[in-house]
């Protein structure tokens, strides 16, 4: 029987596979490429526990292979093996050693656990309120008087204290490269802190099944240096304290007219509008349309033509706009910027 | 086990005289262990939701001590009378079994009547299953218990009727015994209901 050779061949195949896969995690997304202290602490725990586990696994496999090779029944082998009842020393050994290994793991588990549940007041951390919706994210900076959606903007190297809740069903807020997730529960507020130590864009995901388009409930985290962040806040504050600016170009003005009529009920721009849909004040500055589509005029148009096609079951209705209206809206919306 | 006397003279503790009987009693106890978890889960839910009145009536506004006390007294007494039925069973006295069980059933019906009256009254005060989480939890827990009482009543009546024809045998004896166990268990659950739901409700949600 060639079973065991095959088995080993297979195992080495996995080894290769593992290398290939680990090499490829995307910096912006992978939990294996931590970009902040929370993710780093978690990564350390992951490394420690996997090291212990691999150690135990190797021991098990060594005994396993030895036994299978050494004690296979040989052709012509006679007699009956000794019927061993047990062995107290051995049994104690494999009770105590795993227990000790668990203790090694338990200590950092406890310390990290409590460190991650620290809560920081506004003197020490930027406060951000997160509200999850089917299937988009709303972000508010209550102390700064700024609200945005889809793209979370954060300063680099500063603790951020999140207050999270949901407007409808349960979602979970997850930025793998910055740290683990936490659920957003309707009717309750959860807290979590994170910190980004690198500027750039990170990918965020919804990690709790929340309906048809759970898979597409992505968001982006834009981490900038403190100065750029302050500037962004000032820009947002400046715009959001006023009524929407009147568009200048004729196309955009036409678009704004449609927008005020059909869209403002759900979407806020500057200091005006509803909260049923994402705040669009800085729509033109965003990385993606609706969290998933690349931000191009074509994609904005695609979204406006048939939002349900891009994201099944989302709460923006198909408004049956004709091409001209869409064109005007796209032009208007490209002016919604604070940069 | 079956001697030639078997039909004429019942063995001691006839409910456990056969393997079937023993199996039934053991199985029923295990079932009661499961019921413990069942009611425990309902209690846990109730405790978590008892202050969530959503603008509806609170437990302090609703509950009425004399009513609960009366219901408790009735149910406790019925548990007592059902134990008397078991004692009669051990004396192999079918007539006394029937007498005690009849009293038990009547008391059970009385208890149910009180509970139905209570529920109707609450609904009139605007306390419904859909009013609040408290309302849902209250009716589910107390209603589940009431459902058990109702089932017990029907069960015992059925046993009584069929025993008229069959008499007391090693087949019917375990059934009487189980019905009595069941009835006691319902009473034990009620002890926690009057404590956790009613008495703690009257104290209010300040403590605990």
């Amino acid at each position: 029987m060639k079973g065991w050779q095959q088995f080993w061949r297979q195992l080495s195949l996995f080894g290769l596979l593992a290398l290939v896969l680990t090499g490829c995690g995307k910096d912006e997304l992978s939990a294996l490429k931590p970009s902040g202290p929370v993710a780093a602490m978690q990564y350390d725990l992951m490394k420690l526990s996997s090291a212990i586990m691999i150690g135990v696994f190797i021991v098990v496999m060594l005994i396993f292979t030895y036994v299978l090779i050494r004690y296979r029944k040989r052709p012509g082998q006679q007699g009956i093996p000794k019927q061993v009842e047990g062995n107290h020393a051995l049994e104690i050994l494999w009770t105590v050693i795993p227990f000790l290994l668990l203790i090694v793991m338990a200590v950092p588990t406890v310390t990290t656990g409590f460190a991650l549940h620290e809560e920081y007041p506004k003197e020490e951390a930027l406060q951000v309120k997160v509200t999850a919706h089917q299937f988009w994210w709303e972000f508010e900076y209550p102390d700064l008087g700024v609200a945005t959606a889809q793209d979370l903007v954060l300063p680099v190297g500063k603790k951020v204290q999140f207050h999270l809740t949901s407007a409808d069903v349960m979602h979970a807020f997850w930025i793998p490269a910055l740290g683990g997730k936490i659920d957003t529960n309707p009717g309750q507020e959860n807290k979590m802190w994170l910190q980004a130590d690198k500027t750039g864009i990170f990918y965020g995901k919804c990690a709790e099944l929340c309906g048809a388009s759970h898979a597409l409930m992505d968001f982006k985290v834009e981490v900038m240096d403190q100065a750029a962040f302050d500037k962004w806040i000032d820009g947002m504050k400046g715009v959001q304290s006023k009524d929407p600016a009147v568009a200048t170009s004729p196309g955009a003005a036409q678009g704004q007219e449609i927008f005020n009529k059909s869209c403002l009920g759900c979407h806020a721009v500057a200091g005006k509008g509803g909260k049923l849909g994402p705040n669009l004040t800085n729509f033109a500055d965003r990385e993606r349309v609706a969290g998933i589509l690349e931000h191009t005029p074509e994609n904005v148009a695609k979204w406006l033509k048939d939002p349900q096609k891009e994201k099944t079951g989302n709460n923006m209705p198909n408004l049956n706009l004709d091409d001209a209206q869409v064109k005007a809206l796209v032009e208007y919306m490209s002016t919604l910027s604070v940069k | 086990m079956a001697t030639h006397h078997a039909n004429a003279v019942l063995p001691d503790e006839p409910e456990k005289a056969t393997l079937e009987g023993k199996n039934k009693i053991l199985g029923f106890w295990l079932f009661l262990g499961g019921e413990t978890v069942l009611f425990g889960s309902l209690f846990a839910t109730f405790i978590a939701l008892r202050d969530q009145v959503n603008g509806g009536p609170t437990s302090q506004q609703l509950f009425d001590m004399p009513l609960v006390a009366a219901a408790t007294l009735i149910l406790l007494t019925s548990s007592m009378t059902s134990v008397m039925a078991t004692l009669a069973l051990h004396k192999k006295n079918l007539k006394m079994i029937q007498v005690w069980l009849t009293i038990t059933v009547l008391l059970g019906i009385g208890f149910l009547a009180l509970e139905i009256y209570e529920f109707v009254h609450y609904v009139h005060e605007g306390h419904k299953i859909s009013t609040s989480a408290f309302g849902s939890a209250f009716y589910t827990l107390v209603g589940f218990h009431g459902g058990h009482v109702a089932f017990g009543i029907l069960w015992i009546i059925l046993l009584q009727l069929s025993a008229v024809k069959k008499g007391l045998t090693v087949v019917t004896a375990p059934k009487f015994y189980l019905a009595s166990l069941y009835w006691h268990f319902i009473d034990v659950v009620w002890v926690f209901i009057f404590t956790v739901v009613y008495l703690m409700g009257m104290i209010g949600g300040k403590v605990g």
């Binding site: 079973g3 996995f14 896969l21 995690g25 992978s30 725990l45 992951m46 696994f57 098990v60 005994i63 396993f64 299978l68 004690y71 296979r72 029944k73 009956i80 061993v84 009842e85 047990g86 049994e91 494999w94 009770t95 795993p98 668990l102 793991m105 656990g113 409590f114 991650l116 549940h117 979970a172 793998p176 997730k181 009717g187 995901k205 990690a207 709790e208 309906g211 048809a212 898979a215 099944t312 079951g313 | 086990m1 079956a2 078997a6 056969t18 393997l19 079937e20 199996n23 199985g27 079932f31 499961g34 978890v37 889960s41 309902l42 839910t45 978590a48 939701l49 989480a133 849902s136 045998t169």
Partner: protein, 615 residues
């Protein structure tokens, strides 16, 4: 035993009617196996569609809505309707034989348990044709599972699982009583075969875990159908309660699944090493301890719910502890093989393959038990990889081992070894190919339950490999079916094809309906082996040959379950006439059963001897 038992001959039954009315544990085992097998194919087919959809990024094999229905039904079907019944099949087929009993304690209840499970599962699956399957995940978290956010499918989930769960619960009680009261003389607890022990603990877990989900489902039903507010935050409800109730049941459930597999592995490894199980008493202790600890750790599925550092840490540490008794088992198996003469028929291949695979799954389990790290793993493909390693690589392997091992006893036919080996290797390789990459997908940021993933996130390769692997498992499964068909025409099985150690191998394959012509006298652990070593040809009987009393077949279990099945639809569509009709059928049958005692029938002494049993 009953004084009123009639001496009428065995009633004549034939064909379908026999199967619909049987109360014989061996036939019920076959019913469980067939129904569970069909549901396994359905769940596997759903898995196949899931993987096809995820083969490439942004593909559209199935839409977003359908995908959610598929994962929900895949998880629910596999757990409740596929592997649980197959476990019950093996327990039914083997436990009474291993303890030297003629049947289970409550044959009628046994049949009822099967039919309840069957009709519950049927009800759940009819949702596909009646407006859509449930789509809120097998965990059915609220508020997504409430009316406002999901369709009628969840009603099917609630009622289907309620009915099926009832069947499982009474099945569990039945096995507890059977094992406690029906053991043959001399079969003390510490002489029980490991599989019986595992069945015992599993049944205990069923007894205490299922009531929690019963309550959870009742609450969900009230919210969905009768305006309740348990989970509606706007009226003071709380969504966390569902999570707790679900996992208070759900975590013990995974040990309900795995313990019987542990039992099977213990039997198979010991038989094919020709050695007694190493450390039997510590195995028993470990089984019980796993069962006990299993109730104390449910919140490890809720680390990201926001319970806080204290709760998370306590539950995390408690969870890790389970590694210790499980490790005891792994090492005991290894040492059972140590010094033996190991042979590798298919049954043992599965058992031996189980050990490293399950160990990997257990390892990732312990990693998940570290709460801060779990904030990264949770609801990602890492978790999917973990539980398929323990469930498919562990439990399903164990079930295959058990099926190859006990098939001769159940059906009187040997499964083909050559096909069996192909079955094993294709499934085994396909399995690792499917689920090993998923660990990394999870760590690389892929959440679970996503119907698609976008391009440019480096998730393509892993998903592709993962999908390829499923074909291996599909081929493996189909080979098993082929094997079943081929073996039906294959060679007859002898009473003791594997040189077995326990009582089931002392009687013919398949056993006569009364199992043991004479109840055997048990003189130690591995009762049959002891007799073999003492040079005896069989067991010493513990009683003289005599008439055997058997319970009568009954159609009532079937009818009672149909009644609940009908009432279930009534509840869903708020049609109370239908509810009343259904419940009347059920209670009417209960009434009939209670009023009319079953006299049973006797198999006469002469008939037993005719079948070739020495007096």
């Amino acid at each position: 035993m009953s004084a009123h038992a009639s001496h009428a001959p065995a009633p004549k039954r034939s064909g379908l009617w026999d199967w619909l009315t049987t109360v014989d544990h061996k036939k019920i085992a076959i019913l469980y196996l067939i129904a569970g097998g069909i549901f396994f194919l359905a769940g596997g087919f759903e898995a196949l569609l899931i993987r096809l959809q995820l083969m490439y990024p942004e593909s559209q094999v199935v839409g977003a809505g359908l995908f959610n229905e598929l994962i929900t039904m895949h998880g629910t079907t596999m757990i409740f309707l596929a592997v649980m019944p197959v476990i019950f099949a093996l327990m039914n087929a083997v436990v009474p034989l291993q303890i030297g009993a003629r049947d289970v304690a409550f044959p009628f209840v046994n049949a009822l348990g099967f039919w309840l499970f069957f009709f519950g599962g049927l009800l759940l699956n009819t949702s596909w044709f009646l407006g859509g399957a449930p789509d809120a995940g097998w965990t059915s978290y609220t508020t997504l599972a409430l009316n406002q956010y999901s369709g009628r499918g969840v009603d099917f989930y609630v009622l289907g699982l309620q009915i099926a769960g009832l069947g499982t619960l009474i099945g569990g009680i039945n096995f507890l009583v059977t094992i406690i009261n029906m053991r043959a003389p001399g079969m003390t607890f510490m002489r029980m075969p490991m599989f019986t022990w595992a069945s015992f603990v599993t049944s205990g877990l069923i007894l205490f875990a299922f009531p929690a989900i019963t309550v959870g489902l009742v609450l969900l039903m009230f919210d969905r159908l009768f305006g309740g507010n348990f989970f509606n935050p706007d009226a003071g409800g709380n969504v966390i309660i569902w999570e707790h109730l679900f996992w208070i049941f759900g975590h013990p459930e995974v040990y309900i699944l795995i313990l019987p597999a542990f039992g099977i592995i213990s039997e198979v490894v010991s038989t094919f090493s020709k050695k007694r199980l190493f450390g039997y008493s510590s195995m028993v202790f470990a089984t019980a301890l796993i069962g006990f600890l299993g109730f104390m750790v449910w919140a490890h599925h809720m680390f990201t719910t926001g319970l806080g550092a204290i709760a998370n840490t306590l539950f995390g540490l408690a969870t890790m502890l389970i590694a210790v008794p499980t490790g005891i088992k792994i090492f005991n198996w290894l040492l059972t093989m140590w010094g033996g003469q190991i042979t590798f028929p298919t049954a043992n291949l599965w058992a031996v393959g189980f050990i490293p695979t399950f160990t990997i799954g257990g390892m990732t389990g312990v990693m998940l038990a570290v709460p801060p790290a779990d904030y990264q793993y949770h609801d990602s493909y890492f978790v999917v990889a973990h539980f398929h390693y323990v469930i498919v690589g562990g439990l399903v392997s164990g079930l295959f081992a058990g099926l190859y091992y006990w098939w001769p006893k159940m059906f009187g036919k040997m499964l083909n070894e050559k096909l069996g080996k192909w079955n094993f290797w294709t499934f085994f390789i396909g399995f690792h190919l499917t689920f090993f990459p998923q660990h990394f997908l999870g760590l690389m940021g892929m959440p679970r339950r996503v119907y698609t993933f976008l391009k440019g996130q480096d998730l393509d390769v892993g998903n592709f490999i993962s999908t390829i692997g499923v074909f291996g498992m599909t081929i493996g499964t189909i080979l098993f079916l082929v094997n079943v068909v081929v073996s039906a025409k294959g060679k007859r099985a002898v009473a003791d094809p594997w040189d077995g150690r326990t009582l089931e191998w002392t009687i013919p394959s398949p056993p006569p309906e009364y199992n043991f012509a004479q109840t055997p006298l048990v003189r130690g652990l591995d009762a049959f082996w002891i007799e073999k070593m003492a040079g005896n040809k069989g067991m010493t009987p513990a009683e003289p040959l005599g008439d055997i009393h058997m319970p009568s077949p009954s159609f009532l279990p079937f009818l009672m379950s149909v009644g609940l099945f009908i009432a279930g639809y009534g509840f869903m569509y708020h049609n109370y006439v239908v509810v009343v009709i259904g419940l009347l059928v059920t209670f009417g049958c209960m009434f009939a059963r209670s009023v009319k005692d079953d006299p049973g029938y006797h198999i006469h002494e002469d008939e037993i001897e005719e079948k070739g049993v020495k007096a």
